[in-house]
């Protein structure tokens, strides 16, 4: 179970392959990658991601442990970046491995829902118009009640 919190970019495909190759006898891998999306008017200069060193690693570890307790996974992984990111840069990824697809899908979906609202990251968008902290969405908090 690999959890990495880093400023450096990562290679989504390479991480997917490394994760897949580290597995034993599994049938399904699901991976998710989050990307810095521009706004509708294309004026985003950059995104700044702040986090809470120490608590971040604990929170991610706890979320991953919950996923493993709940579904039959052979493994899961999380990479999340912080610092300054340009539009189209990769923010984070998760991957899950399981004998069956349903567990792999559900666990990846669960990891993402919990990461959104329970891991101490905060995003700020710097556009032509100025800087603004991204507000948490009620829908993200509501998503947790699915589990």
């Amino acid at each position: 179970m690999m959890i990495r919190v880093q400023n450096a970019p990562f290679d989504f495909g390479q991480e997917c392959n490394a994760f897949a190759q580290a597995q034993g006898n599994i049938g399904a891998i699901v991976s998710f990658c989050g990307i810095v999306r521009n706004n509708d008017t294309g004026t985003l200069h950059r995104m700044e991601i702040e986090h809470y060193p120490g608590m971040t690693e604990r929170a991610l570890d706890k979320i991953a442990q919950q996923a493993r307790a709940r579904w039959s996974l052979s493994d899961c992984m999380i990479i999340h970046r912080y610092g300054t990111l340009a539009p189209e840069e990769l923010i984070m990824m998760v991957a899950t491995a399981s004998a069956h697809r349903a567990s792999a899908f559900a666990a990846a979906d669960f990891l993402m829902d919990y990461l959104k609202s329970r891991a101490p990251f905060w995003k700020k968008e710097i556009t032509e118009q100025g800087a603004e902290w991204v507000a948490a969405k009620d829908s993200d908090e509501d998503a947790l009640s699915r589990w």
């Binding site: 989050g34 702040e50 809470y52 120490g54 608590m55 604990r58 929170a59 999340h80 923010i91 984070m92 993402m112 990461l115 959104k116 609202s117 329970r118 891991a119 101490p120 990251f121 905060w122 995003k123 700020k124 902290w133 991204v134 507000a135 948490a136 908090e141």
Partner: protein
């Protein structure tokens, strides 16, 4: 008792610093917030709507009613936006 207080995101910007050590008699998170708010306007502004804020005690999420006990590190921040 001396405790380490951390602020993140817009809360950090409003308070004007990322962390500070305070000597406090507060027994709960809510009492600690009341002490801070009484100190200076920038704290009053930052904590004007506590329902929009989250708190972590020694890096675990807590509530405003949570007793501080022997918590060393108390962090305040807006709702998280990871992922």
């Amino acid at each position: 008792m001396k405790r380490e207080i951390l602020y993140f995101a817009w809360l950090r910007e409003r308070v004007g610093l990322p962390r500070e050590t305070v000597d406090t008699e507060a027994r709960t998170v809510a009492e600690l917030v009341a002490e801070l708010v009484a100190r200076e306007d920038r704290y009053a502004l930052a904590f004007s709507d506590p329902s929009t804020l989250r708190v972590a005690l020694d890096q675990e999420l807590g509530e405003f009613a949570t007793p501080l006990g022997d918590t060393r590190e108390i962090a305040f921040f807006p709702p998280m936006t990871g992922g």
